[in-house]
Amino acid sequence: MHKLLIKNELLGCIQCGRCSAGCPVSLRTALSPRKLIYKNLRESRKLPKSQDIWSCTTCRTCQQRCPKGVSVMDYIIGLRSYQVERGKIEPTMRDALESILKHGNPWGRPREKRTQWIDDETDVRILSEGEETDVLLYVGCTPAYDPEIQKSARALAKILNDADVDFAIIGNDESCCGNEVKRMGELGLFEMLVEENTALFKKYKFNTMITISPHCYNTFKNEYALDFEVLHYTQFLKKLLDEGKLQISASIDKKVVFHDPCFLGKQNDEYDAPRELLKYLLTDEDNLLEFGRNRERSLCCEGGGGRMWLEVESESPRNAEIRIDDAKSIGAEIVATSCPFCQLTLNDAVKTTKSEDKIRVVDICSLIAENKFEETEMEE
């Protein structure tokens, strides 16, 4: 019996099929967690060589819904790790992983350009070794490099400055958090990042770390052993609001729906902070709509688990497209989210479903910044 099966409690599986029923990609890809486990238990001496495991978005629905405590997602990640060890993985994923090793980010961009998101109007302090700050803003790779998501980073920096928060960033020495690395099954690289990042954080003095991406938040909070508080930015802004340090006046009179990022919601039980922030922004609270599938039942956008670097062949529409269609059908004009990957996948779906004139996808911090500093961050 392979240790991977024992470790993840596969023997407890009663084949009830809740994992597959809840899996967000089982309808559009060949992945069926139940069948995978079934086959593996029948041929228990060998791990399945299935390529279907690469469709998994590591949203964790399967694991959450399993009545027998089988670690379905961890098992899939474990299977991935054996394929990574053999080295035969999709070239796009290989390139992302190699880029993380070489440049500290999965996007193939040089380290020296990591702070290029900071424009002339954005005031951000970069820490030198030994320096102190109250809040460390961990920017993350996608907000640092993706021109679309850089807007979120700039918006957040402006909000923090406006609320007089003593914050700073690490700068070009900041490296990938490793959340996706772990989920792609590259456990050795993940361990290395944990070691290096932990040592890096020790070079500075701060009390709280905030992240822009729920993915970074998840791994720092749950998979590192850090001796400081880690918050997602929505949680931190909500705290500022409660303490009266951040003022948001209601100014949006459009219908808004919030798309729960898996790594903030399902995986970390934070459903309320983003919604609270949105309520402050809306002239009428009733304009905050809900998807039929919301909170722990929220439909994954397929941006997690390394899927940003892996295309899955399918005849069926992408989940993000389904999500945009759902948003249109409930009459939403804005899909708000709080995750760079969700923002990218949903934004693509707006284009592919030709919904540009009906739906806008936007990060909550950009919405707040537009609301507060309208003249500088106005979108079209």
Partner: protein
Amino acid sequence: MNSVVCIKRVPETAEATLKIAPDGKKLEEENLVFSLNDADNYALEQALLLQEEFDGDVTVISVGPPETDEIIRMALAKGATNAIRIHHDDISKLDASAVASLLAEQIKDLDYDVVFTGAFASDDAFSLVGTMLARKLEIPHITMAIEMKQDDEDEAEISRELEGGLIAKYRIKFPAVITVQTGMNEPRYASILGIKRASQKEVDVVDDPTIPENKVQLEKISYPPEGKKAEILSGTPEETSSRLAEILKQKGII
């Protein structure tokens, strides 16, 4: 069947800001990321694929300073069985013929069927060492291989990729040198655990090789004259397209 793969450690410069070192002959290395030369990576993969099919050894060999061991370990992690590093502090001081001599001196005594090299290195793009090596080893060579078909261990059919997508097919008997173009295969990933395990494997270091005399000298390196970036051409479609057509012609692209 046994292969030898010649690999080179090169800086990744596609997006990096390059600075010339005070000696005016090489780059400041401080902020550069070094890696295995792209085409050599494909050469290595081809050797590993042959090994999967026909068994045998894959020996990687490189000329360079101790830092070269990084790429050697990566090759070992992917499945290379042996490694040789010919020590040299500064390979920018060696011309192609000298590098080929240093490699030939070690390879000639190995038991090999094929020597793979990348078709060119991303730094100087000379495309010289592979062919020169073949001459020094007195064996045939094929450059710019994009496909390799092999039914037995004595010979192979090699497709050379010519300009404009035309393919020229050759048959070559082993032993031979084959220089590999990027895109010949899909190089595998070297996991970090694999690289860590590979650091236990031994690298044969040739400490004090006899350095052949250069025939070609590097005088200096310099920044090329600056080009304009993101220049927006304005006017009517007639005007903009005519300006653009001129630019393309000037650049020799059209």
